[in-house]
Symmetry: C2
Subunit: 427 residues, 2 copies
C-alpha cells in the first residue's frame, strides 16, 4: 500500500507495508539532504503504534542535524568529503543489504574482504602503484613507522640519512636513534623550518641504508615539490599530510607511509607502500605488529585491522577516482592554495607566511598577523563565521589553514573574503 | 512554512524553509525506523529543483536498508548494540550540532576532548576502576600489547610466568620471548585447551615480574571464573574477548588489556588499564607508541588516537551503564550462555562442547557435531536463516557461536531452536 503526499516544490512518496506498521514507534528523524552547506535538512516526524517499553528504551535519541556544516581547517583529523560522509551514514546501520554494519563484520568474511581489496585496488589505481610494491593497511600512525622503518630495514650499526625540514622529520630522526645510526644531513631548524635545501649540495652518507624526508611538514607548511635522489639506499617519505593530494612517482621511493587522517580517511589507519624486495629483514627485536613481512604475507589481515577506517578510506579513494584522479585533485588543490597565498602576499604585510615561496605547502598554510595582538580576535571572529580550527600549532603559534583535498574551494574563498574584511577593519 | 501530509496509520510533518528549497535535489533516502529486526524501514523519495551537475556527482547513492539485520555470531569484529549503531548513524554527518563528523574533529578540540573524557569516565564507572590506575586508549590490538607489556615492565633478563590456556595466551608467551625470559608454568595445549588448572598446584617462579593469563580464550572458549594470585609481581590479563562482560575487581591486576572489537566497539581501539606505579620503566628500545608513560602523561593524545572508534566505544559504555551496569550485563550473558550450553549438553551427543563445564566461556561457545560431515550443511542452513559467522576458527574447526554483550537473547533462542530442528532432521 502506498500513500502519497505532495508538498511544493518537493513531493514525497511514502511506502510502507502493513506488516511493519505495528513496529513503528513515535519518533522524529532528521536526514541531511543537503547538497551544500547552505541547505537545511528535511525533518520528518512519524507517529504510529507504540512498541514495548523495552523497545522504546532501546531507541537512540536521533540527533537533529539542522546546523550547517562548518568549514573545518584542522590539520588532522580533518574535513572529509561531504558525499563520503553521507554515504557512510546511509550505510552505517546495514552495509549494502548485508544485515550488519561494517563495524560488525568479521575481518575474514567475504564482505570485508571485498571492502579492503577494493580499497587497495583503488589506491593502486590512484597512485599508479607498481606491482612490485606492497600496500599495507596498518595502525599506530606515522609515529609507529618512525620505529618500524629502521626496525625493518636496518641493523643497529647501519647509518641512515635524515633531511629535516620540520618537526615531523625531526621526530622521525629522534625515534630512529633507538634502532640505528641516523644522521641529520641537513636541518632547517635554525631558520625555523622555512625552506628546503638544494639537493646537489647535500652531503649524503655513502653507506646510508636510506634517505628519510617528510614530504609535507604539517606544522611548518614546507612541502617537497621534487625529491632528492639517494646516493645509496632507498628514498623514504612520510607523506601523512599530502598523501593522495597530487600524483607521485612511487617508483622513486623505497617506502612511502601516511596516516590517513589528513586526506584519505579517519584517524586510526596508517598506509605503508613498500617495495617488496626490501621486506623480510626485520630485526629480532621487532614487534610482530611492526614487521612488514607479517602484514604483507597476510594482506594486512594478520590481526584485526581497523576495519571501519579502512572502509571510509575506500570511500574516499573511490571519490578521488570519480573526481578524475590525482591530476584533477592537484589542479583543485593548486587553485585553492594560490588563492590563499595570494591573499597573504597581497596584504601589504598585514598577513605573513614565513615559508619560502618555492616550497610552500598546498595542504597546510601557516601565517601570522603583523599585529600579533589581533590573532586571538581573528580566530574568534572566524569561528563566529563557521570557519574553525585556524589556530596555529601550539609549538609555532600564529594561524594555520589546512586545506586538504576535501576542503571545498568555497571554504577557501570564504576565508580569503574574511581575511580581507578583517584587514580592512583592523589595518 | 510547513506543509502537512497525513497517511494512515502514520502521519508525517514536513518542514522546510523557502531558503533551502533551491538546494534540494532529486534523491531517495531510506532511514531505519526499525524497533526490531522484523520492521521494515520507511522509504522516502524527494524530488526538487536540481542543483548543478557537479553537486549531483557529489551526491552518494543512498543505500536501501530494507534488509533485516542478521544475527552475527562472529568472534570479532562482532555485533554491536542496534541502538548504538542507530545513534552513531544519526550523528555521523553532524555530531550534536558541531557542524562536523566525529571523524573530522581535531583530537585536541573541545568536542573530541569531551568525547574521550566521557568515554574514560564511563568506563571507570562500569569497572569501578581505582584512581591509581591509568586508562589508555591505544591502537594495534592485543598483539601490540604482547610486546608492549614486557617492553614496559621488564629488562631482558627478567623472568615472567605464563599460564597458557589457549592460542592467545600462547601468542603472548611467544612474543614475550623477544624481550624477556617468559616461562610457561602450565599449558593446556596437549589436551587441546579444554581446562584451567587448579591454582594451588601452579609452580610459579619466585622472581617472576608478572603472571600473564588470557582471561577468555576466544578460539577455545575457556574462561577464567576466578584468578590466580601471583607469588611475586603483577597479575596481567588479556581480557579482549570478555572485557566489560561482567564485573571485575581491577585491584587484583597490575594490568588489564583488551581489543575493543568484541564487546565494546569497532576494531582499531585497544584499551589498557594499568596501575600507575608500574608505569615509567620502559626499556630504551621501546617504540614511543608502545611506551605507557608517554600515553599516560598525554591522556592518550600523544599522537592522533583512533577518534571515531573511541567515540563508538563511548556510546557502548553509555549503553552498558544504561542497562544497569556490568552486574546486569553478566546476568544476561549467563542466561544466554546457559541456554546454548544446555542445548548442546541435552543433545545426547549430537552436539558436543569439549570444554570442561566449570570454565566454559560466556562469550565464545565452540561445539562440534557428532556427524562432522554435517557441519558444512549446518553452517549453510543457519546462514539461510540469517544466523551468520558460526564456523569455528580455522585452527580448530567445528562451530563457534560468539554471544557477546550485544547478541540479543532472541539471537541465542533462534540458534537453539535451529539446532534442535537441525538435529531432529539429521539425527
Amino acid at each position: 500500500m502506498a500513500a502519497t503526499a505532495s508538498t511544493t516544490p518537493s513531493s514525497f512518496i511514502f511506502r510502507k507495508t502493513p506488516k511493519n506498521q505495528s513496529f513503528l514507534k513515535p519518533e522524529s528523524i532528521s536526514v541531511a539532504l543537503t547538497a551544500n552547506r547552505l541547505a537545511k535538512p528535511i525533518s520528518l516526524s512519524c507517529s504510529a503504534t507504540a512498541a514495548s517499553a523495552t523497545q522504546i528504551q532501546d531507541r537512540p535519541p536521533i540527533q537533529n542535524q539542522s546546523q550547517d556544516r562548518v568549514f573545518n581547517f584542522a590539520a588532522g583529523p580533518a574535513t572529509l568529503p561531504e558525499n563520503v560522509l553521507l554515504k557512510a551514514q546511509s550505510e552505517l546501520y546495514n552495509w549494502r543489504g548485508s544485515g550488519m554494519s561494517v563495524m560488525e563484520m568479521s575481518h575474514r568474511g567475504k564482505e570485508f574482504t571485498s571492502i579492503i581489496q577494493k580499497a587497495e585496488a583503488d589506491l593502486r589505481a590512484l597512485l599508479k602503484i607498481p606491482e612490485d610494491y606492497a600496500v599495507l593497511f596498518l595502525q599506530g600512525g606515522a609515529t609507529s613507522q618512525f620505529a618500524a622503518i629502521p626496525l625493518n630495514l636496518c641493523q643497529a650499526d647501519d647509518t641512515v640519512d635524515c633531511l629535516v625540514t620540520g618537526s615531523w622529520g625531526d621526530k622521525a630522526f629522534k625515534e630512529a636513534q633507538k634502532y640505528c645510526k641516523p644522521k641529520v644531513i641537513w636541518s632547517g631548524k635554525s631558520e625555523k623550518y622555512v625552506r628546503i635545501p638544494a639537493f646537489d649540495g647535500l652531503e649524503q652518507s655513502p653507506d646510508a641504508k636510506y634517505l628519510h624526508i617528510c614530504a609535507n611538514e604539517t606544522i611548518h607548511g614546507v612541502e617537497f615539490k621534487d625529491y632528492p635522489v639517494p646516493k645509496n639506499g632507498l628514498l623514504i617519505a612520510d607523506m601523512s599530510s599530502n598523501f593522495c593530494s597530487k600524483p607521485v612517482d612511487v617508483s622513486k621511493f623505497g617506502l612511502i607511509y601516511a596516516g590517513a587522517q589528513k586526506n584519505v580517511g579517519p584517524s586510526g589507519v596508517t598506509i605503508v607502500i613498500v617495495r617488496k624486495d626490501v621486506i623480510g629483514n626485520a630485526r629480532d627485536i621487532t614487534p610482530v605488529m611492526f614487521d612488514y613481512k607479517i602484514h604483507a604475507e597476510n594482506n594486512s589481515l594478520y590481526n584485526t585491522p581497523p576495519c571501519y577506517g579502512i572502509y571510509v578510506c575506500g570511500l574516499v579513494f573511490e571519490d578521488l577516482l570519480a573526481q578524475g584522479g590525482l591530476e584533477e585533485v592537484e589542479k583543485r588543490n593548486k587553485k585553492k592554495a594560490e588563492l590563499l597565498y595570494n591573499a597573504i602576499d597581497e596584504s601589504k604585510g598585514f598577513y605573513r607566511c614565513p615559508v619560502e615561496k618555492s616550497v610552500r605547502s598546498l595542504m597546510n598554510v601557516p601565517f601570522t598577523l603583523e599585529k600579533s595582538e589581533l590573532e586571538a580576535e581573528f580566530i574568534k571572529e572566524a569561528a563566529k563565521e563557521k570557519m574553525v580550527q585556524l589556530k596555529g600549532h601550539r609549538s609555532v603559534g600564529g594561524m594555520r589553514a589546512s586545506i586538504y583535498n576535501a576542503m571545498p574551494l568555497a571554504g577557501v574563498e570564504k576565508l580569503v573574503a574574511f581575511m580581507k574584511d578583517f584587514q580592512a577593519r583592523h589595518a
